[in-house]
Symmetry: C2
Amino acid sequence: MENFTYCTPTKLIFGKNAIEQLPEVMRPLGRKILLTYGGGSIKKIGLYDEVKRLLSDFEIYELPGIEPNPKYSPSVLDGVRLCKDNGIEAVLAVGGGSVLDCSKAICAGALYDGEPWDLISYQVKAQKALPLVDILTLAATGSEYDCGGVISRTETNDKIGYMDELLFPVASILDPRYTFSVSRKQTAAGTADAINHIMEQYFCEKHSVLTDGMCEAAIKSLIQNARVALEEPDNYEARSELMVDCSLACNGILSIGNSPSGWPCHGMEHALSGYYDITHGEGLAILTPRWMRHILNEKTIERFVSFGVHIFGIDASLPEAEIADQTIEKTYELFASFGIPMHLREVGIDDTRLSEMAHHIAVNEGLEHAWAPLQEQDILEILQASL
Amino acid sequence: MENFTYCTPTKLIFGKNAIEQLPEVMRPLGRKILLTYGGGSIKKIGLYDEVKRLLSDFEIYELPGIEPNPKYSPSVLDGVRLCKDNGIEAVLAVGGGSVLDCSKAICAGALYDGEPWDLISYQVKAQKALPLVDILTLAATGSEYDCGGVISRTETNDKIGYMDELLFPVASILDPRYTFSVSRKQTAAGTADAINHIMEQYFCEKHSVLTDGMCEAAIKSLIQNARVALEEPDNYEARSELMVDCSLACNGILSIGNSPSGWPCHGMEHALSGYYDITHGEGLAILTPRWMRHILNEKTIERFVSFGVHIFGIDASLPEAEIADQTIEKTYELFASFGIPMHLREVGIDDTRLSEMAHHIAVNEGLEHAWAPLQEQDILEILQASL
């Protein structure tokens, strides 16, 4: 195992009626709350009213309309201004990964005197941040159980993963019933996102019996439970496992002590959705099998074999190359079976900006240091194969 | 999944030379430190001198000699008095589970005006506790990553599992090299302890694809790596995995969302070591296969089958009863293969007090509410079968 420091201090409050604990969770944090949310689905499912009722003796300000792939401007900047103007003491994010990510940047920016982008772009280290609590409505990114967020800046096509230990949520309220109304498309994309999170930790140089098994367990759970949830969106057990799988998929516990992978698919996908604003999980699902094909070689094949045998039940007695081929094939088929469009052109990306994106990725994502290093030409070839 | 609240705020600092972070970990906690340790093995391996060197600008008081199955008197009481007399600000526990467990009770007792036993016996809830940091020298109980401890009170044969959220260590320093000198006996017993921790979470009513897979991963890792470490005590990778396996085995992450099992083997073992002061992990290893045999029935058999197929690779196409039988047999053989004495009489327990212990367990451990309920007669039969 590699040396590591691991700490996730967030309290997960999971289950039916978990929200009833909201007042006691918020009370010690302050009375002036910024409530952040997205396009309004929380109003449709009654969650907005429930929050307002439970927090009736708090002073609540609102930042609605946080967009998918949340934007620095207007969302982060508006939220920071609301906090500063009104002496906000805590942020309550109600939504999916985008709302949470944006809220984390707001929490940091609210207690920083300069331009919030200084923090997000790592030019300045935050010294403090407002406390964040969230109520999750979409199982996908794992933002509810990590200290990171991804923020896009449209004018520069930048999409930056911003992490700071100050930004772990104090508590995350997880009631699987809030995800019953999540669409097929978003259920599929969220699952693909989480599967990719785990694959990015699994495909690495140093791993262990423990981490291989934990990663495989979570991926198998995601696959089985997504299949159920896609057919029966209000299946409580399936939505429960998906929710917990996603929470654990991105905070490092499943790969504790593994060597770093470099998160190559995420690095590439950030450019796709930075340039084209596509759904993150769909971008990842499209890239993953092409990335696998591109990096398959003698040094990496052991991971393909292990993954294929344990996740897809491929016959371990076959020749390694055959197992690896089948593993890539079955990964593609898995995402396709969720109904995810598996070509970039199906999500509105053609070949006009592939070179520009490959260059942007090569310059910004450090993928030449990934476990299976990617130079600009490699990245371009993966993008082309994904068309 | 069942409703749950999960939070483990402890920072794990793992790896070679992790101890170098000790001063910066301790600094914010205070300058007056109580250093707690056991029989002196930390002096033999140079760890005591290293701690003193790193903390040369702290004011250090010492509580040496904490015994296995740590005792309320003298250890907890001596520690509490040292803290109160000297205005101790933080406790640094260096050792295995016994030293950590005892130190947790000291942390709580130090800031309580009454008799510490009030807290341990749950008559009074602690309002605050001294911060605890530990340096682990034995992979076994998982005390470094949970908020519980087990304290024995000799005059009443009581052995109480005491838990309080205030007692999570602030940080646990895990350098696998400190466990190179752990004896065969203790390596085996520590592994058996952790395997049993996980089995007690696995054998329950409600479980998931995720938790089954995570539990199986950790048990497989424990088995494989214990076999290596028993032959090569200074194998860094094996000692690393054992250490992390044990840390995760007892804090609930592997069984997140499972229904409770009631911890029946631990409930019974606490009486064995409460009455006879035997090694906890050995007591568990002896009891576990007899407990399995006793609770096997139509309602429980699914767990035996799943465990046997996934842990021991038993042919899943065999009749369920046959798989369950083999599972019990192989569990016994596993512990025996570690060199653990597998009969109570081999660890100095004869039949003279079995009835008394069975009664004590039945009255104190609540095992009639366990997943597979145990009445006094059941407990007695399990103890008799373990002779």
